[in-house]
């Protein structure tokens, strides 16, 4: 290998020689320290051999002494290549121009992409970026990325973070928008409605017209505090005993209803547990198979053809070829992972099963609870089992929570 590279760098020639004087020629050459290799008879009374370019002159002396003549039939290596290229200057110039053009064209920004924006439009970000010196056609080495990020963030309203990354000739601007407070309340009146069914225990109105009272039972979606604040009615329809009548007459107007409506809410959940439970669990052993899918056929490149596990789960990840226009290349890379499973049987006593079912039911209730809900009471009720050999349990949870949510009035 090394020898091949060295002889290519130095250059070598293939010479041909009549067979008669071969032995004398070789012995003289070797005695003079000329290195010959690949000596090959071609059958027509002539022999080929290779010799280094800087030994050719010495070889002429040897040939004269041996009394025969050799002919150079092939020249290989870098010196000859350079000589040939000298005669084909336009080809070399073309290659250089190609490389230079590739380098030059790849040092421009060809496209700018904006992502991560919902409210702010692409055009606004692109316009600010182009004023700051980032637009298709600028030199990509001259970009000052930290300054660009700072400028875009400062000049485009509503952006919390801006990241600019250069990927080859494409520049992508990633933005994160600020979470803005809800818009003007007078223009968008909202009601406070019940998020769940419940029994109201506390009612505190900040703004709006309350439609329910403490002690009322409400259903989900019922309006608790209305956005329409009507003037106090002339007829006594909903006046409470002892309630004060406002003195100032006001026309009906809309507000953003706000308040705290705390209620007792009940949750129920059912859970079944079988006395003998069958299932599968992973043993931790896994295998990966890598292949190519062409059409419907799968060709396995790496990995086992037969899976040695008796029970296993499989997970398939496929990587389809790049989409270009409407052509769809029916070749995918497939990575299939096999996880070994072991079947197991769990046996519970009735008490254990009841406990387990209760815990399961509670768990499923906890999933539905709002973050601020306070659990005030928990209870369990055993129901008739749906089938023999299992236990059904109903869990009831009572909570105390704020059930009011804002809903825009339509």
């Amino acid at each position: 290998m090394l020898f091949g590279i060295l002889s290519h760098l130095g250059g070598y020639v293939t010479v041909t020689l009549p067979e008669e004087c071969l032995e004398k020629f070789i012995n003289l050459a070797v005695f003079r320290g000329i290195f010959l290799w690949d000596i090959k008879g071609v059958g027509t009374g002539r022999v080929l051999m290779k010799v280094r370019l800087d030994n050719v002159q010495a070889l002429r002396h040897v040939a004269r002494m041996a009394g025969c003549r050799f002919k150079i039939i092939n020249r290989c290596g870098l010196p000859f290549f350079i000589k040939r290229m000298r005669q084909r200057r336009v080809l070399v110039a073309g290659a250089l121009v190609f490389v230079a053009a590739l380098y030059l064209l790849s040092s421009f920004v060809w496209s700018v992409e904006v992502s991560g924006n919902n409210r702010v439009s692409d055009q606004v970000v692109e316009q600010v970026a182009s004023q700051a010196g980032l637009k298709p056609g600028v030199f990509r080495w001259g970009l000052n990325i930290p300054a660009l990020e700072k400028t875009i963030q400062q000049q485009v309203p509503g952006l919390a973070w801006v990241g600019v990354s250069v990927q080859g000739v494409k520049v992508s601007i990633k933005v994160v928008e600020k979470t803005l407070p809800p818009p003007d309340e007078a223009a968008h009146p909202t009601d406070l409605v019940a998020a769940r069914d419940g029994l109201i225990t506390e009612l505190l109105v900040f703004s709006g017209q309350p439609l329910v009272n403490e002690g009322n039972t409400v259903v989900k979606g019922q309006v608790l505090i209305a956005s329409l604040v009507s003037p106090p009615p002339a007829t006594e329809e909903i006046t409470l005993p002892g309630a004060e009548k406002p003195q100032v007459e006001q026309p009906a107007h809309y507000v953003r209803a706000r308040g705290i409506v705390k209620a007792r809410v009940w949750y129920e959940a059912l859970a079944d547990v079988k006395l003998t439970e069958r299932g599968c669990k992973f043993t931790g052993r896994e295998m990966t198979r890598f292949g190519i899918k062409i059409g419907d056929k799968e060709i396995i490149l790496i990995g086992p053809g037969r899976i040695p596990y008796t029970h296993y789960a499989r997970q398939v990840k496929s990587k389809p070829g790049p989409k270009w226009r409407n052509t769809n290349i029916p070749v995918e890379l497939l990575t299939v992972k096999f996880y070994e499973e072991k079947p197991y049987i769990n046996r519970h006593t009735e008490a254990e099963a009841r406990n387990l079912a209760y815990r399961k039911a509670l768990e499923s209730i906890r999933g539905q609870l709002a973050g601020e809900a306070v659990i005030t009471n928990k209870s369990m009720e055993e129901l008739a089992a749906p089938e023999p050999g299992s236990v059904r349990v109903k869990a009831i949870v009572e909570t105390f929570e704020n059930i009011g949510i804002s809903k825009p009035r339509n």
């Binding site: 067979e19 290195f35 690949d38 008879g41 059958g43």
Partner: protein
């Protein structure tokens, strides 16, 4: 001739006694054969005949004949020859 044999005999005894490699002490060729594909002959004195079916290489006082088909001299240096091809036999001749 008797004198030369006597000298060689003593050389051999001497190299045996000092455990010197015989190819150095007696100026003998070292021939390495790799399957039937290659044969390296070290310490040669030049080639006597070459054609694709037979290569004759001069060593100390004998001639090594390598017979086969498609024989080529892969390289040739002052003290080493490498013959490549499908080698069928290797023999010594005077």
């Amino acid at each position: 001739m008797a004198w030369k044999e006597l000298k060689n005999h003593f050389k051999k005894r001497f190299s045996d006694y000092l455990e010197l490699p015989e190819d150095i002490a007696l100026d003998l060729p070292k021939i390495v054969l790799i399957g039937n594909l290659q044969v390296f002959i070290e310490n040669h004195r030049g080639i006597q005949e070459y054609n694709p079916r037979l290569v004759r290489v001069v060593v100390n006082d004998k001639v090594v004949e390598v017979a086969g088909e498609g024989l080529t001299l892969r390289n040739i240096l002052t003290d080493e020859i490498c013959v490549e091809g499908r080698i069928s036999s290797l023999s010594f001749a005077d």
